[in-house]
């Protein structure tokens, strides 16, 4: 089985160049440490705001434990603004992080009252903890990727077994399992806004008579199977037509024939 690149929160970026209002952006923010050409693949390159922050910190050999928040915040916000300028759709997480950085920055600039300062945590602590935690797993992901893996570093050594067809018992399936599998799938499909599953009150019986009508009206002996389907009706219409054809077959009113596999299927009325 193959797994395609599934990072679906990466928004495809269509800008071949960095453009602002149709004009190429001439000046990039000065403190930008990411090469300009990387901007195009910004969202694909980084796994999120933590990843971007880690990059900014590492790229300047800064100590994660003593982040110059002001500097990093400014850089980060410059980035976000740049992305917005070129109308890149930013994941909400990036904006949340920008807000968090701004908050840390303001806290640090605020004059502290002495009695409070002893209890108050360094506002950077939580961010540092998250960055370190993320970095651990980022490394762990690299480690896992480097593990010897089947079909990349290791291959099974197998030998052929020559016997008359082994009778492998076929798995049993309960009808309930199919129903719940479909419900599960539909529940998930609701998350995909582009995919709508509609159930329309279409009657199979009504469709059966329509099909018979069409077959008798038409003087031809055979009608192509696909000619009964109206794509405009959508999936449910197609399903109803299909069910109707199946019902008619079962009732012995029509015959469905096919010359050879994958060839055109024909529907023919059975005249008594």
């Amino acid at each position: 089985m193959e797994i395609k690149n599934t990072s679906d929160n990466a928004v495809p970026i269509q800008h071949p160049l960095v453009l602002v209002d149709g004009q190429p952006l001439q000046e990039l923010p000065e403190n930008l440490y990411i090469p300009p050409d990387a901007l195009e693949v910004f969202l694909e390159t980084f796994e999120g705001p933590l990843d971007l922050l880690l990059y900014l910190i590492r790229h300047q050999n800064l100590d994660i434990l003593d982040i110059p928040v002001l500097k990093i915040t400014e850089q980060y916000i410059e980035y976000i603004e740049l992305m917005e300028n070129i109308r890149m759709e930013l994941a909400a997480e990036y904006l949340v992080m920008a807000a968090m950085l701004a908050e840390i920055k303001s806290k640090m600039l605020l004059p502290r009252q002495d009695e409070e300062s002893s209890e108050e945590e360094d506002p950077r602590l939580e961010l540092i903890r998250r960055l370190q935690e993320y970095e651990r797993f980022k490394r762990a992901a690299d480690d896992i990727d480097a593990l010897p893996r089947l079909y990349r570093d290791n291959y099974l050594a197998t030998a052929e077994l020559l016997v008359d067809k082994i009778e492998k018992p076929l798995p049993d399936v309960e009808l309930d399992a199919i129903v719940s599998a479909f419900q599960e799938v539909l529940k998930r499909a609701e998350n995909f806004s582009h995919h709508q599953i509609q159930r329309e009150p279409l009657s199979v019986t009504e469709r059966m008579s329509r099909i018979l009508q069409k077959l008798t009206d038409d003087s031809k002996e055979f009608l192509a199977f696909h000619s009964f389907f109206t794509p405009e009706e959508g999936k449910s219409g197609v399903v109803v037509t299909f069910l109707a054809i199946l019902e008619l077959c079962k009732a012995g009113l029509i015959e469905v024939v096919q010359g050879e596999p994958s060839s055109e299927i024909w529907v023919k009325p059975i005249v008594e």
């Binding site: 089985m1 193959e2 797994i3 395609k4 599934t6 291959y155 099974l156 050594a157 197998t158 030998a159 052929e160 077994l161 020559l162 016997v163 082994i166 009778e167 492998k168 018992p169 076929l170 798995p171 399936v173 009808l175 309930d176 399992a177 199919i178 129903v179 599998a181 479909f182 419900q183 599960e184 799938v185 539909l186 529940k187 998930r188 499909a189 609701e190 998350n191 995909f192 582009h194 995919h195 709508q196 599953i197 509609q198 159930r199 329309e200 199979v204 199977f225 696909h226 999936k235 197609v238 399903v239 299909f242 069910l243 199946l246 019902e247 079962k250 596999p261 994958s262 055109e264 299927i265």
Partner: protein, 188 residues
């Protein structure tokens, strides 16, 4: 005795025969090597002979078939190995059941339909397994570019689940879908 280079050729031939899922011809075996150190046929055959000799006392053997060489279990050991498959309870994967369910309820469905509902690519193995079981088959091709196959369930499927028609499939009563109303809601 084989020298070091020939020994390495023999090892590469050996692992390749064990890793390939089919017989390999001498030419295919030669093709494993980069052009600059590709051994000639004669040396590959020499390696194969050495391996045949080496495995002559073992329960697996290196045999030559029409399409090439492969390792196989000596037939006297087949009865034991066969037991591996006899008792293993098999189960279908969730991916397979979901694919079957989509075909059953949304037929005829293309692979693309299945993928767009499930949100992941449909593996060819799953479609093949369903076709082998004769639960699903291609009933035509969608009239769009690429003419993708349209899958539907079969009579074998209905029989297996004791259904007379697809209409007997349990209704999906517990789930209610919001119809995409394009009209403003009417006051009741």
């Amino acid at each position: 005795m084989l020298n070091n280079i020939d020994m390495e050729i023999k090892n590469i031939v050996e692992v390749s025969l064990f890793a390939a899922n089919e017989a390999l011809s001498v030419m295919e075996l030669q093709g494993l090597f980069l052009l600059e150190d590709r051994p000639d046929k004669y040396r590959v055959r020499e390696a194969l002979n050495a391996l045949q000799e080496e495995y002559s006392q073992k329960p697996i053997e290196l045999v030559e078939t029409a399409s090439g060489y492969r390792f196989q279990v000596r037939s006297e050991y087949s009865p034991w190995v066969t037991r591996l498959w006899e008792e293993k309870p098999v189960k279908y994967s969730r991916a397979l059941l979901e694919t079957l369910a989509i075909v059953a309820y949304q037929q005829p469905a293309t692979r693309g339909d299945i993928e767009s509902i499930r949100g992941v690519a449909v593996s060819t193995n799953i479609i093949r397994a369903l076709e082998e079981r004769e639960w699903v088959r291609v009933i035509g091709h969608k009239d769009v570019p690429g003419r993708p196959a349209l899958y539907a369930t079969t009579k074998v499927f209905l029989d297996y689940f004791n259904l007379q028609t697809l209409g007997d499939l349990p209704p999906l009563a517990s789930l209610r879908y919001q119809q995409c109303n394009t009209e403003p809601p009417q006051p009741q």
